[in-house]
Amino acid sequence: MGEFKVHRVRFFNYVPSGIRCVAYNNQSNRLAVSRTDGTVEIYNLSANYFQEKFFPGHESRATEALCWAKGQRLFSAGLNGEIIEYDLQALNIKYAVDAFGGPIWSMAVSPCGSQLLVGCEDGSVKLFQITPDKIQFERNFDRQKSRILSLSWHPSGTHIAAGSIDYISVFAVKSGSAVHKMLVDRQYMGVSKRKCIIWGVAFLSDGTIISVDSAGKVQFWDSATGTLVKNHLIANADVQSIAVSDQEDSFVVGTAEGTVFHFQLVSVTSNSSEKQWVRTKPFQHHTHDVRAVAHSPTALISGGTDTHLVIRPLMEKVEVKNYDAALRKITFPHRRLISCSKKRHLLLFQFAHHLELWRLGSTVATGKNGDTLPLSKDADHLLHLKTKGPENIICSCISPCGSWIAYSTTSRFFLYRLNYEHDNISLQRVSKMPAFLRSALQILFSEDSTKLFVASNQGSLHTIRLLEGSFKHLHTFQPQSGTVESMCLLAVSPDGNWLAASGTSAGVHVYNIKHLKLHCTVPAYNFPVTALAIAPNTNNLVIAHSDQQVFEYSIPDKQYTEWSRTIQKQGFHYLWLQRDTPITHISFHPKRPMHILLHDAYMFCIIDKSLPLPNDKTLLYNPLPPTNESDVIRRRTAHAFKISKIYKPLLFMDLLDERTLVAVERPLDDIIAQLPPPIKKKKFGT
């Protein structure tokens, strides 16, 4: 494999935002997750829990509620008082409707899917009608005294439970008047000065209302009489979320201590028909508040302030007990946030509202395998570029020569020219960027830094030629067949002839840049693409999918390569397929065409195409033993996948030149150190 000096970078101060709401859609098995900075991400749970779409955040959009309506429509409502519908095809916001009730705290879709209920700050509950292209205000229900923090529909659509501060009201939908008002104790068996906030309510079809509140209680109410049936104290802190399964035989609650409890309806004795709700399982996968939970038919999903998304399949619901039934914890992003300029050893870090440009340090020392070399020159923070406006940055890129930086937000596109003179850099903005470049999903510079490729969310690909201080629009590749399909990933060949672009559903398109037309399309695969790259000289397109399959497609020959067919026939090693995190970056060695370097969050791997492929019986992870073991053993166990787990968690890894690698790590402790304060836990002996 060769010897490499590795630049181990830990100064990327990446802190993801906490998860605020989670909504599960049963028909398409997708999960919509909204974060505190306004980003909404869509995870495809059947495609190995891959994040396939996302909507960038906005400073004023603090979402408080998220829900799916009939026909795969996604709505969110937040503290700016607007109900927003998202366009899942074009990856932008369709429209925003102001509810005129002040900040919106909760939202619920009726069981038939055609009506939307919204609970506002001023205590009003508003009913909206969902029309095919918009939503329309229908009427207001009786106004309550304090803000409506949680809402739930009865499965028949006739009644609504609304949780507020210190009380729960039950409304009849037809008349809009409050039928019952149930007062909630401020503390379990006691009095308290702090008001009791009802964080979540759920209405079951037999008329039971389940409420969770800030005193740590889970209460069961009878909506016909308006009385308390059962009272459970499950935590010392707030219980912040509740989600009921479709069959109404189990529900899950999340607390502020990070514990998630599972309640199930079990029969009192083994053959009686009488059932009662019993707290069955506690799960402690979070350290901070669990602010959102969801219940899919087979799994419990939870997310909170500690930014992890945890999906716990329930063992009794899973049919086949294989690796699919394992716990999934999604912590690191599924996209690349770092770009690298190889010539000048620069790294560009993308944050939500700014970009940072760093120059890597250098060393003159040499050492053996495993040594840490001292730096002769420290890493330098060259540039801190803040974006104007409240929108988040969608994507960014630096050119390989290091003279151009481009980034895009929803409404604007920015292109900067960098000039270097002895250690200082100066920045110059290229003004008057054309309007069609905004809202780009992916930006890529060509290898010689003369061309810029921009993939917009409308499905078109723009090619721009970069001149000294200005630009010229060369060409736009329009999407096929009238469907709007956003292009998510781009790859350009080092010789500048080919451009590969992958969308969300169709195959990977390969365009000929010199002749400006579509060259071929790689056949579609039912899992989304997570990484793309084109090898130098051979022009092989390497594609990694979310189910950990790696394909190699030869662009000049328009067919899969021999190696790719071989490995598809044999199949990948079972441990390779059981990896949790997707491959986010692929790169190549300039002098060794048989090597492919790829990485995911917990390992990086060099695939040597000349060595034999491993089958399920061989050891997949066999690092080189430190002492020289016998050559025979080494030859016997050597196979094509050279995996190293030294650097983890990895956010980015690339080959800078023939003997240098750069690995950007982000230790989990550093992320946790910057999170908001958690609930105090008293442990004996401390």
Binding site: G81, W105, R147, K193, D289, I679
Partner: protein, 258 residues
């Protein structure tokens, strides 16, 4: 005002001086009395004060001076008049100040408003309550407006109920700033509510450092806290030290070269 009889220990000469003096002294006395809460206690405290001030000469018993009712009444009236005068003067001064401020505000407001011709145009365009939006919105909406004009679509995510292009150029979107302020204040109140209920007083929160160090405390060999070092301590001092060191090195090089 309560008239208090002058004390026995008072210097007799002072009583024969101006009318004004006893009155002021009485005021002082009364003032002391009021401060101490009761005249009696004032009286009780008086001798101590007097003793400190004037030494021990005035301990002789002397008959208190006779002050006629008329003179005392005259003094009191004088007092009241003076007080009334001062209050009236204060009021007029305040009034003046307020008037000046009002005028200043009107000036500023006039300066802020758009010139009359544009206002006329706005009102004749058939739209009430339109004011120019801030620069940022203008720019962002500029592109949106252009795009939408090109496409000819009507639906936009506009904050304002109606979108009206003013004039021929159709280059900006008009918003009512008062609505925006109201909305912002409500949003702030909502955020403050959430912050208070989750992280405010009464919630049982702890720092991340303490939370992560809980494990370390219970190990058989106790380890240090998770964030034992405070790297943010004294950053300014460290920076200054670094700069000083660099400059000192340069100076040393120069002198050593010479």
């Amino acid at each position: 005002m309560v008239q208090l009889r002058p004390r026995a220990s008072r210097v007799p000469a002072s009583a024969t001086v101006d009318e004004g003096q006893p009155a002021s002294e009485e005021e002082e006395e009364a003032g002391h009395g009021l401060l101490l809460g009761q005249p009696s206690s004032g009286a009780a405290a008086e001798p101590l004060e007097e003793d400190d001030e004037e030494g021990g000469d005035e301990l002789d018993d002397e008959a208190p001076e006779e002050l006629t009712f008329a003179s005392a009444q005259a003094e009191a009236r004088e007092e009241e008049r003076r007080v009334r005068e001062s209050v009236r003067r204060d009021k007029t001064l305040l009034k003046e100040k307020r008037k000046r401020r009002e005028e200043l505000f009107i000036e500023q407001k006039k300066r802020k408003l758009l010139p009359d011709n544009i206002l006329e145009k706005l009102t004749t365009a058939g739209q009430t309550n339109i004011k120019k939006s801030s620069g940022k919105l203008k720019e962002a909406n500029l592109q949106k407006e252009n795009e939408d004009c090109d496409k000819g679509s009507d639906s936009k995510k506009a904050k304002v109920q109606k979108v009206q292009s003013v004039g021929q150029n159709k280059s900006y979107l008009a918003l009512r700033l008062k609505d925006q302020d109201l909305r912002d204040s409500r949003q702030q109140a909502a955020k403050a509510f959430i912050q208070n209920s989750l992280y405010g007083p009464g919630t049982n929160r702890t720092t991340v450092n303490k939370f992560l160090s809980l494990e370390n405390k219970r190990l058989p060999v106790k380890k240090a806290a998770a964030q034992f070092l405070n790297n943010a301590w004294g950053t300014q001092k460290k920076q200054n030290a670094k700069r000083f060191k660099r400059r000192w090195m340069v100076r040393k090089m120069k002198t050593s070269k010479k």
